[in-house]
Amino acid sequence: MQTPHNPWKSWARTAFTYLLTILATILTTLVLNALRQGISPTIISLLYLLPVGMAAALWGIGPAALAALLSFLELNYYFITPYYSLTVHQTQDLLGLFVFLGVSILISQLVGRVRSSLVQATAREHDAVRLYELSAHLVGLQDEQAIARAVAGQALIAFQASCVEVVIEQQPDVQSVHIRLNDETSFGELDASRVTGQPNLVPLQSGKGLLGELRVWRGDQLLSPTEERLLQIFASQTVLALERARLARAETRTRVLEESDRFKSSLLSSVSHELRTPLATIKASVTSLRSEEVPWDTEARADLLAAIEEETDHLNQLVGNLLNMARIEAGVLRPQCTPNSLAEIVSSALNRTRQQAQNHKILVDISDDLPLVPVDYVLIEQVLINLISNSVKYSPENSIVQIVARQVDNRSLRVTISNQGPPVPEEHLEHIFDKFFRITAADRVTGAGLGLSICKGIVEAHGGRIWARNMPGGFAFNFTLPLIGSDKLKNLQSGEQA
């Protein structure tokens, strides 16, 4: 299939340069012949160096050598006595001729060498520019699709190809990609002529095995050895980019794993502490009650049993919080929103926290005309329970905890739970909703540091916002809940009256 056109063409071009060389020497002879009366033979022999130098500079060593030989012969034939013969009578002339031959060969060699290194340097510069363009396009690419597209695009330009294909095989951790780009400038649609001829194939070989293949079609024109080398470099650059992308992905994954690992271990240490505390109370109370050494009076028995019941509820609440935390972490917390009365939810949250809040005075202020709010009853109840129990925990006994709900505007309502506890340092206010964040030393007050972060997760899942603020003489949690589509409920409310 390899067509001979190309060698023929370059042969013809070479033949043409030789022809031009011959013409140049003949022209020189004609001009010098016309001027021969006024010029000394020494100058003439010097002027014969002109076509030699020109041929060397323009066409390379071969034509230069020919020019040197022809100039030598023509000089001898036309300008050295006896004229019009190749014989030489004077030794001096013979010597001059040989010096001329030597000098012209030397010049042709030197100029030719400079010229060919110039050609090489230009080719190298071209390659370097192409490689620079390629690596500039590959910088920062992290997926196979983008890398393959960039390589194909650059190869299309660099090799003036009609079509380039980049094939990346499916691997563990690597998606399979097949990109084919055509030279847009020649024809719009892909046609068979574009992919005629043998493609130049280069494997994409990495240290870990074959990743795929780079294929370049360029009609009937073969790639020169330099271009083949460039294609090899393209392939190795592609492999490097693919490896880099794979490593970057692996690194991201590792970081995520580390993060989740850290989360799990802090959760574990915090949770095991939290779970053991109530268990310790339960175990101690039960073993005391079963012990036959101490005769418990009725009141003591009742106290121990109350402690067991309280701690059991506490454990159960903790497990509920953990489950919600896990749901929030996994991103599967989906509130089942139905129109609910906030007063109802607050009242059932108060029921559940009655035991914890028995030493505090709880005031509820929820206006009667507060519209129904579309929320998940159970989740918002959990938010209220956590906020109430946090308020109770961090404020002195017999102080007041106040729950106020107000409609802010047509779009949202706000719930404020305030207590008379100590203020929280301003720099901590933003962080109290973070996981495991605690202001006081871990052992002073129980709680896994999860409660508030769960509140944040739940309120945000409802499209609301939660924040904390120091108040004169206390501290307050606030959260908002959006009120969407509550207009028709309002109408219904004023509908039927007794």
């Binding site: 019941e309 059991t312 159960n316 509920g320 089942q336 139905t338 129109p339 609910n340 009365s341 007063a343 109802e344 939810i345 607050v346 009242s347 059932s348 108060l350 509820v364 929820i366 129904l372 998940d376 009853y377 159970v378 109840e381 028709k488 409920l489 219904l492 409310q493 039927e496 009256q497 007794a498």
Partner: protein, 232 residues
């Protein structure tokens, strides 16, 4: 009741079975236990109990499935006892025919109260006289006369409010799902309009309860429905 009521407990946890057997036997019930769904179904068919306490997570078949298969042939009251506390699980089990739902961990007094309510309802359903007057503290609801009084003073209710209260009171002690209340009091087509229920419930509580924010007669079952608490 003259004879000891017979309770079948279906639960896969040996500790729960042991505790319930001990407690219920002490409370004068006759107790049979099963640790698998199929076993429970076979026991229920062979020797129909008066009440079934059923766990949802069983090793062979799901508790909801057990519930549905029991309902194909019997109206024996079923109380679900499960660690699953998602509202959807509860509503699903109640829809499939369970009479009540209790989340583990539970207080034994609560379980006993639910058992008593369920047994009473099944006795009423079997034809024993069904009182038309229901008392709850100072409240007296006369289903036949359509009147409600609080400490002797009549409370005026709209037609819908009375229908709602009557349905809750007639099922005193049992949890009624939002959907069940809506399709009974309004229309099955309105079963999804929980907002109707919330609005009427608020009006009703304002008229009945001493403190509508701390209801004593009509209790919330978060995410599921309501339960009316009567005296007996």
């Amino acid at each position: 009741m003259s004879t000891q009521p017979h309770i079948l407990v279906i639960d896969d946890e040996a500790q729960i079975l042991r505790a319930l057997r001990t407690i219920l036997t002490a409370k004068q019930f006759r107790v049979t236990t099963a640790s698998r769904g199929e076993e429970g179904l076979a026991l229920a068919a062979a020797q129909p109990p008066d009440l079934i306490v059923l766990d949802l997570s069983l090793p062979d078949i799901d508790g909801v499935e057990v519930c549905a298969r029991l309902r194909e042939w019997t109206q024996i009251p079923i109380i679900i006892l499960s660690v699953r506390d998602g509202e959807r699980d509860k509503v699903n089990a109640l829809d499939k025919g369970a009479d009540d739902y209790l989340t583990k961990p539970f207080g034994i007094e609560e379980l006993l109260a639910r058992i008593r309510v369920a047994l009473r309802h099944s006795a009423q359903a079997q034809g024993s006289s069904k009182g038309s007057v229901i008392n709850a503290g100072p409240l007296m609801i006369d289903l036949a006369q359509h009147t409600v009084t609080h400490s002797g003073t009549e409370i005026k209710l709209t037609a819908t409010e009375f229908k709602l209260l009557a349905y809750l009171a007639a099922n005193a002690g049992r949890v009624l799902t939002h959907q069940a209340i809506l399709s009974h009091v309004w229309d099955p087509a309105d079963a999804e309009h929980v907002e109707y229920l919330r609005v009427y419930m608020r009006q009703l509580r304002k008229k009945l309860e001493d403190d509508p924010n701390q209801p004593k007669y009509i209790l919330n079952e978060p995410g599921i429905g309501y339960r009316f608490i009567s005296d007996d």
